[in-house]
């Protein structure tokens, strides 16, 4: 008789797949964004399911709370409110679907065919161990990642700020007489 974990897994898996499908095929980009939220949450759930508590939390905090919000901002900033509903037409299914299906089929069959180990690890908090790993074995990547973060921050600001500074000069494609200042986080 299938255990609870089976149900949990398949339930979360269903969420994830549904959400991902929605992101892929939804007409409305806002719906897509929220479905992405769903997916990410589902993934977080799976992380918990797998006993990776820190990663799960990190997922929620960063992915859902940061990135997704950012995406939502972007969606809302780059579409007129009225257009949000119908803006997401798709192109090129004819070439993409076969490729994707091909890829998927091989990947899935490869992964399913392989015999994987069946261990049942003990659930234990991972935070300490992660910390340990970060500061011992993976110290260099850890530092590099922080550098990357810094660069990303600065770069984003540079990209966004340059747009602001260029406001006064030739503004190709800009709406005429729309002197609204828009920064990364400002209203249009």
């Amino acid at each position: 008789m299938p255990g609870v974990e089976t149900f949990v897994f398949y339930g979360l898996a269903a969420l994830i797949v549904a959400g991902a499908a929605g992101v892929a095929f939804s007409r409305n980009i806002l719906h897509a964004a929220f479905l992405l939220l769903l997916t990410l949450s589902g993934t977080a759930g799976l992380y918990f399911f797998l006993g990776a508590d820190f990663v799960g939390v990190a997922q929620i905090l960063i992915y859902v709370g940061g990135i997704l919000v950012l995406l939502l901002f972007a969606v809302l900033l780059t579409n007129r409110i009225g257009d949000v509903r119908m803006s997401n037409r798709n192109v090129g299914y004819a070439t993409t679907i076969p490729v994707a299906l091909l890829l998927a089929s091989f990947l899935v069959s490869a992964m399913a065919l392989a015999s994987w180990p069946h261990t049942t690890p003990v659930a234990a908090p991972t935070t300490a161990r992660l910390g340990d790993a970060f500061l011992r074995e993976y110290l260099l990547p850890f530092e590099l990642v922080s550098l990357v973060l810094l660069m990303a921050l600065v770069g984003a600001m540079v990209v966004a700020r340059r747009a602001v500074r260029d406001r006064g000069d030739a503004d190709e494609g800009a709406l005429p007489a729309a002197p609204a200042s828009s920064s990364v986080g400002g209203a249009p």
Binding site: V91, G92, T96, V99, A100, L102, L103, F106, S109, A110
Partner: protein
């Protein structure tokens, strides 16, 4: 006359000296000098350089001829007057050695003297007659060249040099008839003369070739057959006929036999053969006359000639027929005579020299040369005589109804040449040559006198400037007896000679001809018939001669003439010289006859010394022609009869002419009635018995039809073929262009289009859309995965 110092005379038989060559070189160099220097100095000295040079050359030739004649020919014995001058070898064909050489024998000597004598006089006349003409250097150069050609012709030792001269005189005749080439009539006449001559020349050439073939051909004979072609050896020289048979004469050591182109060799061969055959008629292949002195062996070569047949015709008859045709072309006999009247479009001196005295006698000369050949074929002789008779008749009838003075004289020449041919046909070549001489004098006199008359009348004849032949119309003339006295008497003398009145030379020569004909027993046609025709012809001759005389000088009240100023008027120096020449010729026309041809029955001597002087001179050339004839001693009755008849007929003609034409106005109604009654005849005669129309039907029309056919062929076939080829080429070109455009350009364009398309398609990869980049990556990953899957499994 002095001679250039050699040992002995100028010629020493057998001659290898140059003098014969000088006879040719003087006129030739004269022609060159006249052409070159005359043209260079054409504007100086009133253009007299050319005539002066030409006359000088002629006089030099005459002097040379006279010197040779008197210092070399005459002193030598009668039978030794054969001087050879080999010039240069030409080529060797098979067994024949063809070479160029000259020979001076009695016949050629007579012709040389005639040509140079008459030629000099006519050159002198022409020098003044052609005053004020354009193109005098050309004229006199050709005149000299003509004399050269004629001398070459008569001095030729064989067929080859003869043919050279033959063609050359034809060419010079063309140039001189067409001297005023801008006049259509003159140009056409020259062409007509040349073409008609050509027909004769073709026949001559074929005849010569057949003769050669008949003699055994040019093949090299070897082995046994060569033994049959032997040589006749003589101890001392060539064989000549005497009363005792063939006798040697000084000079040649042997007579080669077989095919030959040399006249004397041929004659010797034939005579030897005839003699041998007579000695052994049954077996012609054996050496017949075993004559120790002569060592004769028989050879079959000439036998072939006399016994071959061509179809049903005897071979020799055909050959002689062809040679006759060749002679007829040059000597204006039937059927090739119509060119002579038209040739009067040339200047009068040309008519006098060429078409009265020399060129037209070339045919007579040829037949005289070959009389030994003709003698072997009585059929051929008959044909010659008949042709001569008919021609004489046609010429006389035509001359009777002409109104143009020169045409009268032209037809008269045709008629008189007919007489000469009659003589040849009767086997009396000597008589024919005699007539050549006398005719030369009186005809030249007539022509030159006509020239004086025409010049005198031209100034007062309306329209004569544009159409010169109007001045020659006798109906425009008349009453000139007092204006041109000397000319009148000269003309009268010449007319008498032409008519055959007993005091002028024509009588003697004509009489000799008729007598020979009367005593000829070899012809296949009845000689009395021919004689009757010739008698009528003589009457007509006298009639037309005196008709012209009276029409010119009487017929109307006397009138004055206006002489052209360029002759110095009536009594200017030019006029006097020309008149003097005419008078000299007239004197010759009277004197030459008795001098050279005093008839035998008028003299008291017997035998051979009774022969007229000229005939005696020529006898070595003609006697001994087989079958052997005795020295012709005609019955006295026949001779007297002929002479009397001839004189009567001539006098009758004169009387009728005088009655009809002396006082033309009075007789005009009579003449008109006669003209109406005989209008048809008159038309027939006037056109030379429709000779031109006959030519047109027989030659011109077929030639034109052939040309049309050829043109049609050319257009329909050749042009079509060429056009088809061109069209094919065009199509090929278009095809090539098509291929080029479609295929080649297509390939090139296709390559570029493919490159462009590939580029465009390739560019689509870089469309700037993230989606496609992602897709590309995905596809790459998919491929790798698939690959890994299959490689790993």
């Amino acid at each position: 006359m002095g001679s250039i110092p050699y040992s002995g005379g100028w010629l020493t038989p057998p001659g290898i000296d140059a003098p014969l060559l000088w006879l040719l070189l003087f006129p030739l160099l004269g022609a060159l000098a006249t052409a070159i220097l005359g043209s260079l100095f054409a504007r100086r000295f009133a253009g007299r350089v050319a005539p002066a040079l030409a006359v000088a050359a002629m006089l030099a030739t005459l002097v040379t001829a006279l010197v040779i004649f008197f210092t070399d020919v005459l002193p030598v014995g009668e039978r030794e007057r054969i001087f050879r001058q080999p010039l240069f070898p030409l080529f060797v064909v098979g067994g024949i050695r063809v070479s160029f050489g000259l020979v001076l024998d009695p016949l050629s000597a007579v012709m040389v003297l005639l040509v140079t004598g008459l030629g000099s006089l006519i050159h002198l006349y022409a020098a003044f007659y052609m005053d004020d003409e354009q193109g005098r250097p050309r004229f006199f150069a050709f005149l000299n060249l003509f004399v050269f050609s004629m001398l070459l012709l008569v001095l030729a030792d064989g067929f080859v040099p003869l043919f050279f001269g033959w063609e050359a005189v034809g060419a010079c005749s063309y140039f001189l008839i067409g001297f005023w080439y801008r006049r259509a009539a003159a140009a056409d006449a020259a062409t007509k003369a040349f073409v008609v001559n050509r027909v004769g020349d073709a026949a001559l050439l074929v005849g010569i070739a057949m003769l050669l073939w008949g003699l055994g051909g040019i093949g090299l004979v070897t082995g046994a057959a060569a033994g049959q072609l032997g040589t006749v050896w003589t101890r001392t020289g060539p064989l000549v006929e005497t009363g005792e048979g063939l006798q040697p004469s000084p000079g040649r050591q042997k007579v080669p036999v077989g095919p030959t182109l040399d006249f004397h060799e041929l004659r010797d061969e034939l005579r030897l053969e005839m003699m041998s055959r007579a000695a052994a008629p049954t077996n012609p292949f054996t050496g017949a006359t075993a004559d120790a002195a002569h060592d004769v062996q028989f050879r079959p070569a000439t036998y072939l000639l006399t016994s071959k047949t061509l179809g049903r015709l005897p071979f020799l008859f055909v050959v002689c027929g062809l040679l006759l045709l060749g002679a007829a072309g040059k000597s204006a006999q039937l059927p090739l005579f119509a060119w002579l009247p038209d040739a009067m479009a040339g200047p009068t001196p040309v008519s006098a020299l060429i078409h009265a005295a020399t060129l037209v006698t070339a045919g007579v000369y040829l037949l005289a040369r070959l009389s030994f050949l003709f003698a072997l074929s009585p059929a051929a002789l008959t044909v010659v005589a008949v042709i001569g008779t008919l021609t004489a008749l046609v010429g006389a009838t035509a001359a009777l109804v002409q109104n143009d003075l020169k045409r009268v004289l032209a037809y008269s020449t045709v008629s008189q040449l007919g007489y000469m041919f009659v003589a040849l046909g009767a086997g009396a070549a000597g008589a024919g040559v005699f007539h050549v001489v006398t005719h030369g004098f009186f005809k030249a006199c007539l022509f030159l006198a006509a020239g004086l008359v025409v010049h005198a009348v031209a100034a007062t004849t309306p329209g004569a400037a544009e159409r010169p032949d109007l001045a020659q119309d006798m109906r425009q003339m008349g009453g000139l007896a007092r204006a041109l006295p000397a000319t009148r008497w000269a003309y009268f003398a010449a007319c008498s000679a032409l008519a055959g009145l007993p005091f002028a030379s024509g009588f003697f020569s004509k009489d000799l001809i008729l007598t020979s004909l009367a005593t000829c027993d070899r012809l296949s046609i009845s000689t009395p018939l021919l004689l009757a025709v010739l008698g009528v012809t003589s009457f007509l001759t006298s009639l037309y001669a005196f008709r012209s005389y009276y029409l010119i000088f009487f017929a109307r009240p006397p009138r004055q003439t206006a002489h052209a100023a360029h002759h110095g008027g009536h009594h200017g120096p030019g006029q006097q010289v020309m008149t003097a020449v005419v008078v000299v010729l007239a004197l010759g026309a009277i004197v030459v006859g008795p001098a050279l041809g005093w008839p035998g029955n008028w003299s008291s001597s017997q035998g051979e010394s009774a022969l007229p002087r000229l005939l005696r001179f020529l006898s070595p050339m003609f006697e001994g022609d087989w079958p052997r004839r005795d020295t012709p001693r005609t019955p006295a009755m026949v001779e007297w009869g002929m002479q009397l008849g001839g004189a009567l007929v001539a006098a009758l003609g004169w009387a009728v002419a005088r009655a009809l034409y002396r006082d033309a106005e009075a007789t005009a109604p009579t003449r008109r009635r006669l003209a109406e009654r005989y209008a048809v005849l008159e038309r027939l005669f006037a056109t030379g018995w429709q000779a031109d129309r006959a030519y047109h039907l027989l030659a011109v029309a077929p030639a034109r039809a052939l040309a049309r056919g050829a043109t049609w062929l050319d257009r329909a076939v050749v042009d079509r073929a060429v056009n088809a080829v061109a069209a094919l080429g065009l199509r090929l070109g278009r095809l090539a262009g098509f291929v080029d455009r479609r295929a080649v350009d297509g390939v090139v364009d296709g390559v570029s289009a493919a490159a462009l398309a590939a580029g465009r398609r390739g560019a689509r990869l870089q469309d700037g859309r993230i989606n496609s980049y992602v897709l590309g990556i995905a596809a790459g990953i998919a491929a790798l995965v698939v690959l890994a899957y299959f490689l790993g499994s």
